[in-house]
C-alpha cells in the first residue's frame, strides 16, 4: 500500500529567515507529485523535512497518518527511498553492496538479497556486469541507476527524488528520464520529485506543486497551471521555460 504524506502548517527557518513559510500540503498516495520552482523556493527543504534530514521549526509532518518524530524516524526512513542529484553512492562499496547495504544490515538472507538485486538491476536496466564496479568506475547515468536501486531495495512505499537528473548531460538524461518514468508508473508508489525544470515536471507529474520564496503558489495539474494560473508568477514561470515545452527533453531522443 502506498502511503500519503501530509504537511500541517510546517515551517523552517535559517537564522530567522524563512526557508519554508507555514505550509499545508497533502501528497496523494500512489501518485507522482512534482515540487517545482526556482532555486531557493523551498522545494528541497520540503523533501529533507520529509526524511528528517531537517527538523521542522513549527507544525507536523504526517507519514501515512503518523507523526514524524524521533520515535518514528528510522521506520519512516526505511519505508522511504531517497535519491539525490549526484547519487550519494558510498565510494568504498561496489554497486551491489551500495544497493544492498540496508537489506544486509537488516539481516536479509544472501539469497533473498541476490534475487532482489537481480530484479532491480533488470528494472533500472543496469547491465549485470556493472554490479561489481565501484562508483568511481561508473558513468553518471549508471550511478543514478544504482542509486535508484538502493532507494528501491526495501520496496518502500514512498520514493523521493531530489533533482535526480540534474547532474547529467542531455542525452543520458533523456535516456534515464524514460526509464525513471516507467519505473515510477509501473511500481505505483507515492513519488515526490523535485525539479526546477517545467518540461520534466510535466513529463512526470500527476500533480505539480509550484513554489516561490518558501511558500506554495499553486498546486494543480500541468493543464491547471497553464490554463488557470492563480497568480501572474505562474504565467511568468511557464513563459520563461516555454522553449523547452515545445520540444520536451524526453522526446528529443526519439
Amino acid at each position: 500500500m502506498p502511503a500519503s504524506i501530509e504537511f500541517r502548517a510546517v515551517a523552517k527557518f535559517y537564522d530567522r529567515a524563512p526557508a519554508l513559510r507555514p505550509t499545508n500540503l497533502t501528497i496523494a498516495a500512489g501518485k507522482t507529485t512534482v515540487l517545482l520552482g526556482p532555486s531557493g523556493c523551498g522545494k528541497s527543504t520540503l523533501l529533507r523535512l520529509l526524511v528528517g534530514l531537517l527538523k521542522a521549526d513549527q507544525g507536523q509532518v504526517l507519514f501515512d497518518g503518523r507523526e514524524l518524530n524521533e520515535a518514528s524516524l528510522l521506520d519512516v526512513r526505511r519505508r522511504t527511498g531517497y535519491v539525490i542529484q549526484d547519487g550519494g553512492l558510498f565510494p568504498h562499496l561496489n554497486a551491489r553492496s551500495n544497493a544492498s547495504l540496508m537489506a544486509r544490515y537488516l539481516g536479509w538472507p544472501p539469497r533473498r538479497v541476490a534475487e532482489r538485486i537481480a530484479e532491480l538491476a533488470d528494472l533500472v536496466r543496469l547491465p549485470n556486469e556493472r554490479l561489481d564496479a565501484f562508483p568511481s568506475q561508473l558513468s553518471g547515468g549508471q550511478r543514478q541507476r544504482v542509486s535508484l536501486m538502493r532507494a528501491l531495495m526495501l520496496d518502500p512505499e514512498v520514493l523521493l527524488l531530489d533533482e535526480p537528473l540534474g547532474a547529467l548531460d542531455p542525452i543520458i538524461r533523456a535516456d534515464l528520464q524514460i526509464d525513471l518514468r516507467r519505473v515510477c508508473r509501473s511500481l505505483a508508489k507515492t513519488v515526490v520529485l523535485v525539479t526546477h525544470d517545467l518540461a520534466e515536471a510535466r513529463y512526470f507529474g500527476d500533480q505539480i506543486v509550484l513554489l516561490r520564496d518558501g511558500g506554495i503558489v499553486q498546486q494543480d495539474t500541468f493543464e491547471g497551471l497553464l490554463h488557470r494560473p492563480r497568480e501572474p508568477f505562474v504565467e511568468q514561470f511557464i513563459q520563461a521555460q516555454r522553449g523547452g515545452l515545445e520540444a520536451p527533453v524526453a522526446e528529443q531522443g526519439r
Binding site: 526524511v51 528528517g52 534530514l53 528510522l74 521506520d75 519512516v76 526512513r77 526505511r78 522511504t80 531517497y82 539525490i84 549526484d86 550519494g88 553512492l89 558510498f90 565510494p91 568504498h92 562499496l93 561496489n94 547495504l101 540496508m102 544490515y105 565501484f134 562508483p135 568511481s136 568506475q137 558513468s139 553518471g140 538502493r150
Partner: protein, 501 residues
C-alpha cells in the same frame, strides 16, 4: 577482528617475558647515572651485594640526577652512587647544609641514608702536564699567581659559571694574560701539544693518567667538595642488612688514583664496566665475581624485543583511546577544539619532563616509557580520525542517514570505512615517531635501542651508537612498510581506485 587482537596480545605477552623480573626476596636494585664513573660504581655495588648472597640488579645508565633521586624516593632503586656536592648544590639546593651532620639529617627526613666517603673526590680542579708543572714548581692553584704568562684553556661552561672561573679568579687573585675557551675533550690535546698550559678538569677524568696530568691542589678550598658516596633507602637496614654490610665495604676503599684508573680502563681501553668492577674487587678484596658478557646477537635480540614491546603496547593503547576520542570530537563539534587542544598541548611537554614526572607514579622501566609514548601517540591519531570523519562529504553522510541506518551503524558501515585511510595514516605517523622516541626509554631503564646509543654517547663510541641507531632506523622503515601492507588490508578497495572519470 577479535582473533587478530588476541594474536597481537599473545605476541606482546611473549615479548614481555623477555624482560620480566621475578620476585624472590631479598633483592635490591642498584642505580647508576649515564656517565662512566657512575656505571662503574654501580657495578661495584651490585657485585658486592651479590657476593653477600643478595639478588641484586643493576639499573644502569639512567637519565640523570633527578631520575635517580626520584627513583630512590619511590623505592624503585635501593642504592645509587652520588656526590656530596650534587646533593648540596642540586638535589637539596634550597637548604643550607654546610656540615655533614646537617646533610645527613636532611636526607633522613626523606628516608634516605648516606654512606661515608668512598675515598675520592670528583670535583672541578685545574690541571697541567706533570713535566711542565715539575719544571715550574707548581703544585697548588696559589702557585699559578706567580706565572701569569701561562696560557689557560678553560671549558666554556666553567668560564661562564659564577662558581667557576670568575669566582676562582677572585679567590686566588689570578691575573693571567691569556685565557681562552676550549672544548673539554680538546683541552687535553691542547695540553699535550702545549697550545695551552692549564685547563679545568674533573678530578677523576680518565685522561689524567693517559696524559700524565698533575691535578693542582685547591689550597684555598674554593671548589665545593664532591665526595663520592652512595645513597640508600633507610629501610635497607631492616630489609637486607647483609647487603648493606657488604655495600659498606666500599667506604674509603677507592682512592682518587684508583678511580682514575678504573675510568681509564672503561673509557680509553674500552673494557666492559662489569669486568672492570670484578677485576678491582678481586685485586682489592679477593672476591671472585661472575661476569656475564652478552654476545652481539643476544644483545640485539633482547633490545629488539624491549623496543618492540614499548612501541607496540603504547601504540595499542593509544589507538584504543585516540580513535574513540577522534570520533567523539567529530560527532560533537563543541568538544572538538578542547580535545584537539589538549592532545596538542601534551605533545609540547618535553619527554624528559614526562619521564621524571612518571617515576613517583610508575617507577622505572617499561611502564613510564610506555605511558610517555602513549601520550605522544595521541595527537596524530586523534587529529587524523577527526579530520577523516569531518571531511566526509555531507551528501554521503545524509545518504546514510536517509537509508534509515541508526547512528552507530552509520559509523561502522559508512563513516569509519570512508575515514579509514586517514585514520591509518595517523596511526602510521604515531608508530614511526614512536620507534624513534622509544630510544629515550633507555633513560629510565626501559632498555631498547636507546641503550647502546646512550652508552655510545657516554664512551664517545660511534660503533656503539650505530648499534642502536641502525636497528632503530631499520625498524622505522619496517614499520612504514608494515603499515603500507596494512593499508591494502584495511582500506576498502573502492577508496584505493584512481578515478576513471
Amino acid at each position: 577482528m577479535r582473533t587478530r587482537l588476541l594474536t597481537l596480545l599473545a605476541v606482546l605477552a611473549l615479548a614481555r617475558t623477555g624482560v620480566a623480573r621475578g620476585d624472590d626476596p631479598p633483592r635490591i636494585a642498584v642505580g647508576s647515572k649515564k656517565f662512566t664513573e657512575s656505571v662503574i660504581l654501580g657495578e661495584l655495588l651490585t657485585l658486592l651485594a651479590r657476593d653477600a648472597g643478595v639478588d641484586a640488579v643493576h639499573r644502569r645508565e639512567l637519565g640523570g640526577t633527578q631520575i635517580l633521586w626520584k627513583a630512590l624516593l619511590a623505592g624503585e632503586i635501593d642504592v645509587y652512587p652520588e656526590y656530596t656536592g650534587t646533593l648540596r648544590e642540586e638535589i637539596l639546593s634550597g637548604e643550607r647544609l654546610p656540615t655533614e651532620e646537617s646533610l645527613r639529617a636532611a636526607l633522613a627526613e626523606r628516608g634516605v641514608a648516606m654512606s661515608a666517603s668512598l675515598g675520592f673526590d670528583d670535583t672541578y680542579a685545574l690541571g697541567m702536564l706533570e713535566d711542565v708543572a715539575a719544571r715550574l714548581g707548581i703544585e697548588s692553584i696559589s702557585d699559578l699567581s706567580e706565572h701569569p704568562d701561562l696560557a689557560l684553556g678553560l671549558s666554556h661552561e666553567f668560564m661562564d659559571r659564577e662558581d667557576g672561573w670568575p669566582g676562582l679568579r677572585r679567590r686566588y687573585g689570578l691575573r693571567p694574560t691569556a685565557v681562552q675557551g676550549v672544548d673539554h675533550d680538546l683541552a687535553y690535546r691542547g695540553l699535550a701539544n702545549e697550545a695551552i698550559a692549564v685547563t679545568d678538569l674533573y678530578s677523576t677524568d680518565a685522561e689524567i693518567e693517559q696524559y700524565r696530568i698533575r691535578v693542582l691542589t685547591d689550597d684555598l678550598h674554593y671548589f665545593p667538595a664532591y665526595q663520592a658516596v652512595f645513597l640508600y633507602r633507610d629501610d635497607l637496614r631492616q630489609r637486607a642488612p647483609a647487603a648493606l654490610t657488604a655495600l659498606r665495604r666500599h667506604e674509603g676503599a677507592i682512592s682518587q688514583k684508583e678511580m682514575i684508573e678504573l675510568n681509564a680502563a672503561a673509557k680509553l681501553k674500552r673494557i666492559n664496566e662489569q669486568r672492570i668492577a670484578a677485576n678491582f674487587l678481586h685485586a682489592k678484596l679477593g672476591l671472585i665475581a661472575d661476569v656475564s658478557e652478552e654476545t652481539f646477537a643476544t644483545r640485539l635480540s633482547l633490545r629488539t624485543r624491549e623496543h618492540l614491546y614499548l612501541v607496540a603496547v603504547s601504540l595499542f593503547f593509544a589507538v584504543s583511546l585516540a580513535v574513540p576520542l577522534g570520533i567523539f570530537a567529530a560527532r560533537w563539534p563543541a568538544f572538538a577544539q578542547p580535545i584537539l587542544a589538549i592532545v596538542g598541548l601534551i605533545q609540547t611537554i618535553p619527554s624528559l619532563a614526562i619521564l621524571v614526572f612518571m617515576i613517583p607514579l610508575l617507577g622505572l622501566g617499561a611502564k613510564p616509557a610506555i605511558v610517555a609514548l602513549f601520550l605522544y601517540s595521541l595527537l596524530p591519531i586523534v587529529r587524523n580520525t577527526y579530520v577523516g570523519l569531518h571531511d566526509i562529504p555531507l551528501s554521503l553522510r545524509e545518504s546514510a542517514e536517509a537509508l534509515g541506518l541508526p547512528s552507530f551503524a552509520r559509523l561502522r558501515l559508512v563513516e569509519l570505512p570512508l575515514a579509514s585511510r586517514a585514520i591509518l595514516a595517523g596511526v602510521k605517523t604515531a608508530a614511526v615517531i614512536n620507534v624513534g622516541t622509544a630510544t629515550l626509554g633507555a633513560l629510565i631503564g626501559a632498555g631498547g635501542f636507546g641503550q647502546p646509543i646512550l652508552t655510545g654517547i657516554r664512551l664517545d663510541d660511534v660503533g656503539l651508537i650505530l648499534e642502536g641507531a641502525v636497528p632503530a632506523a631499520l625498524l622505522a622503515i619496517c614499520t612504514q612498510g608494515v603499515f603500507e601492507l596494512a593499508e591494502r588490508w584495511l582500506v576498502p578497495k573502492g577508496l584505493r581506485l584512481k578515478r576513471s572519470t
